[in-house]
Amino acid sequence: MNVKEMVEHFGLQPATGKKGLEREVKAGYCGDLLSEIMANAPPGCVWLTVQGHQNIVAVAVLREMAAVVLTGGRAPDEETVRKAEQEGIPILTGPHSAYDLAGRLYAAGVGKPAAA
């Protein structure tokens, strides 16, 4: 699934432009402590978080993420959107909780180990 398909499938709202929407979503990660995300988020993941400040863009670039979703209807800061567009990192928003959206993503096969 790429970012664009994920947006359509789960009814997410892109806060950024078209850049990066073709990226493949290879895994998922949840969390709000940036230091922990910086250490552990897998490359190519979609990251589910409540943080909307500009540091999330640096973290997403560092971990080579596919996209960031702000959960619970939260909106990114203006500066975050500006930086994300510069870096080509899609920032998406949606009403779901992280638990809810992570469950749906996993059920749809994102980050699920291939069946033996």
């Binding site: 402590l33 940036l34 230091s35 910086m38 909307g52 560092l62």
Partner: protein, 252 residues
């Protein structure tokens, strides 16, 4: 601004949270020398240098402050394990450097300047000394409580930074201010008038409030400042003012 009176106390306009080019998000122009120059232009009597998780530019700023006639305290904006930002303010550079050593023992990772920004150690003559290779944007493994305790053990003051902010403010990170945390005060960002702080953020409770610029750019230095009534621009006096002891106090 500073008014003498019979008590020997006067007003000091203080900006106790200023970054330099050492902070990855700090502007290149924030050299210790230019920070001092701009602080004087902004009419400040006292500043503190608080870079992220490091005090490596504090010494140069203090020496330049001495040369230029501006009181400069060494400090640091520590990012705790909970990703709460806490200002650790000191009187002497050695105290700040001891705090830095403590913070560094819990700080891992290397900076990626192209992602997070350059971390420039500069001297008071505006020369680059080196780049700090550590991941200063990161969080130390020490907890909030450990950071406050160590700050006090070293003789410093512990002020919870920008408590009104969603990014790394204690109220957002924890949901409340732990009542047993021995903070000397809280800082309100420039976005909110100091007089409104308690009303807007009732969780501050009875903790003393200050405001500062949190400047990352020269133009922002002094955009918020705290006026203290005290005898001298010293850390001990700030402590007295925060506790409203011996006639000292926070005026505005």
């Amino acid at each position: 601004m500073a008014v003498d009176d019979l008590s020997g106390l006067r007003e000091f306009k203080a900006d106790l949270h200023i970054h330099t080019c050492l902070s990855p998000c700090g502007d290149w122009e924030m050299s210790p020398r230019d920070v001092i120059r701009r602080s004087r232009e902004a009419g400040l009597d006292l500043i503190a240098i608080c870079d992220h998780n490091s005090s490596e530019n504090a010494g140069a700023a203090m020496r330049e402050g001495l040369r230029a006639g501006l009181a400069v305290l060494p400090g640091m904006e520590v990012c705790t394990r909970e990703e709460v930002h806490i200002l650790a303010l000191f009187e002497d550079l050695n105290q700040a450097l001891a705090m830095q050593e403590f913070v560094y023992t819990g700080l891992s990772g290397e900076n990626r300047p192209e992602v997070f920004g350059y971390q420039v150690v500069a001297n008071e003559d505006n020369e680059v000394v080196c780049e700090n290779p550590r991941l200063l944007i990161g969080a130390t493994r020490h907890s909030l409580e450990q950071v406050v305790r160590r700050t006090h053990a070293l003789g410093g003051l512990s002020v919870s930074a920008h408590v009104d902010r969603p990014a790394n403010g204690i109220i957002n990170q924890l949901g409340f201010i732990p009542p047993d945390l021995e903070l000397d005060g809280v800082e309100i960002s420039y976005r909110i008038p100091l007089a409104k702080a308690r009303e807007r953020f009732p969780l501050i409770g009875a903790l003393p409030c200050i405001t500062s610029s949190d400047a990352h750019f020269l133009k922002d230095i002094g955009r918020a400042a705290t006026v203290f009534r005290m005898a001298a621009p010293r850390l001990r006096e700030i402590g007295l003012a925060l506790r409203a002891e011996q006639g000292r106090g926070v005026l505005s």
